[in-house]
Symmetry: C2
DNA sequence: ATTTGAACTGAAACGCGTTTCATGCGCTAT
DNA sequence: ATAGCGCATGAAACGCGTTTCAGTTCAAAT
């Protein structure tokens, strides 16, 4: 394999000049530029990226941590990032954590070891304080509200989203309202929980643990929740459902069991995925693609931290 | 930032010894090992991965090219790869091509520039002959039948899968059979087309272009095909549908329009995703996760090429 | 007592591009 | 005429681990 020194020799110039040609720096005479280019073509020369990375100290790779890759919510988010990465000539390494801390740690270590120029954490399991230690190695961007503002972040105001959806259900006359989310202790889930508690209090409604469902991520989880719901004595009459897939699973099972939606059970999904449109599920639109783009841009801004909040929007259809 | 030479100086040993400690090589005295370790802890030393990559000529990164990331078929495939990558301590860089050749080219270039140790092409747009030129830079693995066997490959025998499903429909009495896939000219689609043609011929059925639908990838595409189907005069009575999401979209729209499935329209999906189970869609199970794992393993075998064929399996439910 | 070899250690070369610094040349401004 | 500046070019240092090779030490085998 030829390297830059070989080229220099063949073209009769110094390595500096070859490097200048490679990087389109000015101050190279037309004559030498051509000589270098000829030599490169002749020998089928190509740069060794690893050498460049070592030399420049950067890799043009951003790490992205998600709990699942095969999930529409994160899928859309990652799509947005990829789009942006393409534009900025960056690459993305995906870390699927399955909510395991070690996987998250791996990503952080890669940042530390200079294999990544930045890191986007779409879900954070690791402790705040520990995370702070890694900030010196490169920009870390979060997909949750950070308070105080120590990291760049882009997020959806889940408190707001939940509050609005709850009020909407209340206005429609529902009183036995519950919800159905993934983790109980994720940052987003806590916000939702808070919104729920505040809502109950404001409207003098009693909290009933039978109305909340956890560990829901995908279609099949929704289907299972619906089955569970069917067997409950004291059923909620309306549910906020963390994403449209889950809602679709519920609708599917309910249809099979001839449950009238929304009369017997009202549902509001989140994301506004295509499935929600075709199944006519009332949902809260989340601008995930744009959020992904924004997150990525922030990951490139090593110099300053910023925060972006994205506004959800309720879309009325047939399940409320 | 401290480097290996600093550590050597502090610990009073040579860089070779430090390197030996780092890589757990034998022949380091307990005493020196401890001195090195102490120095590393003291200075919070960590290796510079880029230097390692340059030095060793490998990166422990495998590139994976997919048309879409946010799609259950590729999602499952990638999940399998990630699982395997985790075990082998490799990382994955995802390339979403949207079927654009330039994106594929990018991935190939990264292989060429030694930024990737191997490349897995889940969908290939680039020409065979061109691909051959890149083989010298690292293992390239394909998710399609290669003939002659010039690349490692793992694939599903789509001809077989389609043939079986078609025979199944025929045995059930259907005669107006069509199908619904993504690209018209992908390697897999060609196999399916062939299976379809052979099936028609064998059973003396006439080919009707109204029975084939293209550009179907996701739920919403299925929904749209169903709408199109509704408006057709000459409708197929049974359809093979490239994946379960599409089938689910069709079922959803058909239900809304009170089309009796399978009486008016029979459907067979592919993948056996959870949605197929809950919507009781007859489907062909594809071992995508395992295939992903296999593909990944092959990408690590730089020395020899191999081929793995995965066997699909029909799962009867309610849509036929 | 001598050969053999395993255990241990370090110097130096290697992988390869980028960047800084010094220098030379030719032209313009004073 | 001369200081000053822009352009062009190369030498050398730099980023940092890995690996080979040569050598030393000490104990076991003959």
């Amino acid at each position: 394999m030829t390297n830059i020194r070989d080229i220099a020799k063949i073209a009769g110039v110094s390595v500096s000049t070859v490097s200048r040609v490679l990087n389109h720096h000015p101050y190279v005479s037309e004559e030498k530029r051509r000589a270098v280019e000829t030599a490169m073509i002749q020998t089928n020369y190509h740069q060794n990226m690893n050498a460049i990375h070592l030399s420049t100290g950067k890799t043009n790779i951003i790490g992205v941590v998600v709990p699942f890759t095969n999930h529409p919510y994160f899928g859309k988010l990652v799509e947005g990032m990829m789009e942006q990465a393409g534009q900025d000539n960056y690459k993305i390494i995906l870390f699927q954590t399955n909510y395991q801390l070690e996987r998250e740690q791996e990503a952080l270590d890669m940042l530390k070891y200079k294999q990544l120029d930045g890191l986007i954490l779409c879900s954070r399991g690791i402790d705040w304080k520990l995370l702070l230690d890694y900030q010196e190695y490169g920009p870390i961007v979060l997909a949750e509200k950070t308070n105080p503002q120590t990291f760049s972040a882009s997020y959806i105001d889940h408190y707001q989203a939940f509050s609005e959806a709850l009020s909407f259900l209340y206005a429609k006359g529902y009183r036995k309202i519950g919800y159905c989310v993934g983790r109980q202790n994720g940052a987003n889930s806590k916000q939702r929980w808070q919104a729920y508690q505040d809502f109950l209090e404001e409207n003098a409604l009693e909290y009933n643990p039978d109305y909340t469902y956890y560990d829901c991520y995908q279609f099949e989880d929704g289907a299972n929740v619906a089955l569970k719901w069917l067997e409950q004595k004291n059923r909620p009459e309306a549910l906020l459902v963390a994403n449209d897939q889950i809602a679709a699973g519920m609708v599917t099972v309910c249809q099979k069991h001839h449950i009238d939606i929304p009369r017997q059970l009202a549902l509001i999904g989140f994301d506004n995925q295509p499935i929600a449109k075709f199944m006519e599920i009332t949902t809260v639109q989340l601008p995930l693609f744009q959020m992904g783009q924004q997150l990525f841009q922030q990951a490139l801004q090593a110099d300053h931290i910023s925060e972006h909040q994205f506004v959800p929007k309720l879309i009325e259809r047939q399940t409320v």
